[in-house]
Amino acid sequence: MKGTDRPEQGMTLIVKTITRLTVGLIMLFGIYIVLHGHLSPGGGFAGGVIIALSFIHLVLAFGRDRALKIFSQSMASLFESLGALLFILIAVAGYVGGYFFLNVFAHKGHPFRLFSAGIIPLCNIAICLKVGAGLFAVFVVMVAFRLGARE
C-alpha cells in the first residue's frame, strides 16, 4: 500500500474526499454535546474526546505534515493550559460567596433553556478544551515517534 512507506502522504483519494465532507460535521456534533451538557446526556468529557477524534481523523487521512499546519502542537498545549486555568478560575470565583466552587449566579435562569444552570456550561467548556487538546497532543507525540536506533 502506498501509504505505509511514506506516512506523510496520508491515504487514498476516496478517503481524503470523504474526510473533507464529514470532519466539520463531527466537530459540530462534539460542540453540540458540550454545550447541551446540562440538558441532555453528554457533558464536557465526551464532547472533548469527540473533538479530539475529529482532529485525529484529519491526521490519519491527510498525513502528519499537512494536518499539523491546521492545528500545531504548540497551539494544542496552549489550549490545554487555557482550559485548566479557566476551570480553576471558575472554582476560585466561588470565594465571592464564601465557598469553594459555589454556583455564583444567584438567579439561575429558567430551567430547560440553553442559558441556565449557572456555572455548569462554563465548566463544561473549560473541560472540553482541556481534554480535547490534551488527547490530541498525546496522539501526535505517539505517532511522530520513530523507532530510533532499531528499525
Partner: protein, 112 residues
C-alpha cells in the same frame, strides 16, 4: 446475585491475563478488561428495577429514577482509565525500543 458473580468472573479473567501472560501488550489488555469489569459492577449496584434515566423533562413528573451517584463516579473513572492506558502504552513503546524484545521475563536490567 448471579449477575454480580458474572461480573466478578470478568474481573478475574483480567487478573489471570496479568498474572500469566508475558507479552507487554497482553498485560495492557488485561488491565483494560479489569477496568471494564469494575465500572460495570458500580452501575449494576446502582440500578433500580423499572427505573428511568436521571434526566428531567419539561412537562413530565418522573418518580422512579436510577441512582445517579455511581454514574457520576464511573464517568470520572472511564476517563482516568484512558489516561492510564495512554501512559503505559507509551512506556511499552519505549521499553521495546530499548531492549529489543517485548517479553517481560527478559527485561530485567534496571539501570540508573
Amino acid at each position: 446475585m448471579a449477575i454480580y458473580l458474572l461480573c466478578l468472573i470478568l474481573f478475574l479473567v483480567g487478573v489471570y491475563c496479568i498474572l500469566v501472560k508475558r507479552n507487554l501488550i497482553k498485560i495492557i489488555i488485561g488491565l483494560g478488561i479489569m477496568e471494564y469489569a469494575i465500572n460495570l459492577f458500580f452501575i449494576l449496584v446502582g440500578y433500580k428495577m423499572k427505573g428511568r434515566a436521571p434526566i428531567l423533562a419539561e412537562d413530565q413528573v418522573i418518580k422512579n429514577m436510577v441512582d445517579p451517584l455511581p454514574q457520576a463516579l464511573v464517568l470520572t473513572s472511564i476517563v482516568i482509565g484512558l489516561a492510564v492506558t495512554a501512559l503505559i502504552a507509551s512506556m511499552a513503546i519505549r521499553l521495546y525500543e530499548k531492549y529489543g524484545t517485548a517479553d517481560i521475563s527478559q527485561i530485567r536490567r534496571l539501570k540508573g
